[in-house]
């Protein structure tokens, strides 16, 4: 009798939780960014961001340590008398590799900013998405630094994505490799435009809606077309052509684009603040 009651109360609990989940999905799906749960999401982002920043700060040297090992690996065979010196060199090298990388990233970022006349807020990537089906990163700047939803994000190498959620101290950036992302792109050689979307299956980008008679060269650069009122400013590098399919019998060409940015090692980014997207066409 007790067992039967316990089973019944468990079933009741599970049915209630499932109903609650379904109601949450429905309400949030219909409400979107203006829905009642969006504010809770921003609160969760603000609460977790300091923890992510702290953990990233602690574990970043671990990643640099492995990088450093590649450079000083040959020293391991040295005799005992040199071990102390090797240890010292190793720690210096780790620090040097890290500083050199950050320096190069900042220099490239400053170059891009001056070249394209962009104004922005530099930010550090403190975390990635917790899901395997969402390609976003969290940065350590938020609305208190002037960040707003839909602001473009770049690095010295090229286009990263755009801001999709902002809390007071952090923001979420949707990367251009996310299948939900779509960027208006332009082939530098021909000037032909198309839509660049994320393609997780290929781990690349795909440029669609390109005229079938367009001449496309290998390694040709693809930049943002920057149409009026669009999300991204013009002439930011998206990537380079790696493969072309279609284009016969009136079918538009599909171009595989290798992203310019290495998304696996994003560190310092620039959130562009002097470009605003407008909803009007």
């Amino acid at each position: 009798m007790v067992l039967y009651r316990r089973t019944r109360s468990t079933r009741l609990l599970v049915v209630s939780l499932v109903m609650l989940s379904l109601m949450t999905i429905t309400i949030d799906f219909r409400g979107g960014e203006q829905g009642p749960f969006a504010a809770v999401g921003r609160g969760a982002l603000a609460a977790v961001a300091p923890l992510q920043a702290a953990v990233s700060r602690v574990f970043r040297p671990v990643g640099d340590f492995f990088t450093g090992l590649v450079h000083v690996g040959s020293l391991k065979s040295e005799n005992d008398a040199l071990r102390e010196e090797v240890q010292k060199l190793r720690s210096e090298n780790i620090e040097s590799v890290s500083i050199q990388r950050e320096n190069a990233e900042l220099l490239a970022l400053v170059g891009l900013r001056d070249q394209l006349d962009l104004e922005g807020v530099p930010a550090i990537v403190i975390g990635e998405s917790v899901s395997n089906f969402e390609w976003t990163v969290t940065i350590d700047r938020g609305s208190s630094d002037g960040l707003e939803v839909d602001m473009p994000v770049v690095t010295g190498e090229g286009l990263v994505g755009h801001v999709v959620r902002v809390s007071g101290n952090a923001a979420t950036v949707e990367l251009i490799i996310d299948p939900e992302s779509a960027v208006a792109g332009r082939l530098v050689g021909s000037g032909e435009t198309g839509l660049v979307v994320g393609d997780t299956d290929l781990r690349d980008l795909t440029m669609e809606l390109v005229d079938d008679e367009t001449e496309v060269n290998p390694d040709e650069r693809v930049v943002t077309s920057g149409y009026q009122g669009g999300l991204y400013p013009p002439r930011i590098v998206i990537g380079s052509v790696s493969h072309v399919t279609g284009g016969s019998g009136g079918v538009s060409k599909i171009i595989t684009v290798r992203p310019a940015v290495d998304f696996s090692s994003l560190d310092i980014v620039l959130v562009v603040t002097n470009h605003r997207a407008t909803s009007e066409p």
């Binding site: 992510q52 574990f59 899901s131 395997n132 999709v164």
Partner: protein, 168 residues
Amino acid sequence: MRRILSWTVVVLTALVLQSTVFSQIELGGAKPELVFLATVVLALMEGPSSGALAGFVGGMAQDFLLNQPKGITALTLTLLGYGVGMLRQYIVTPSPLLPVVLVGAATLAGVLFQGIVMFLLNQLDVSGLYLLRVALLTALYNAVLTPFLFPVIRRIAESSRVTKVFRW
């Protein structure tokens, strides 16, 4: 109260590690699902009620960090926690590999279920083959991590368990 606090710490730690440390150490492009792992382990130890409740709370916490309709992970983990908790009652093997196998199988089923729900809600635009590949790799990653994380989660769960003291 102690149990709620313990579970909050486990979920928060899992989410922070998943978005920082483990995003740098991917297995074939897949990250582990640490909240899935913790839910399965808890359901295995505590049964279907605690499994479902822990799954719902952990899933909802994960959902609020994502840019997708909230509730999808909560729904997945509620069912997963309940399912594993129920299954546990019919498994009598003393094999130490049981948690590893269960975590792997449950993660595979959970990720596939979550992917299908997201696809039906038009929130996922990947091929079936990609979904299967990610589900398999995530399941493998979680299974590999289980021998290291199972003792930690078990210890936390046991230390926060309410013990009844009978006085004569």
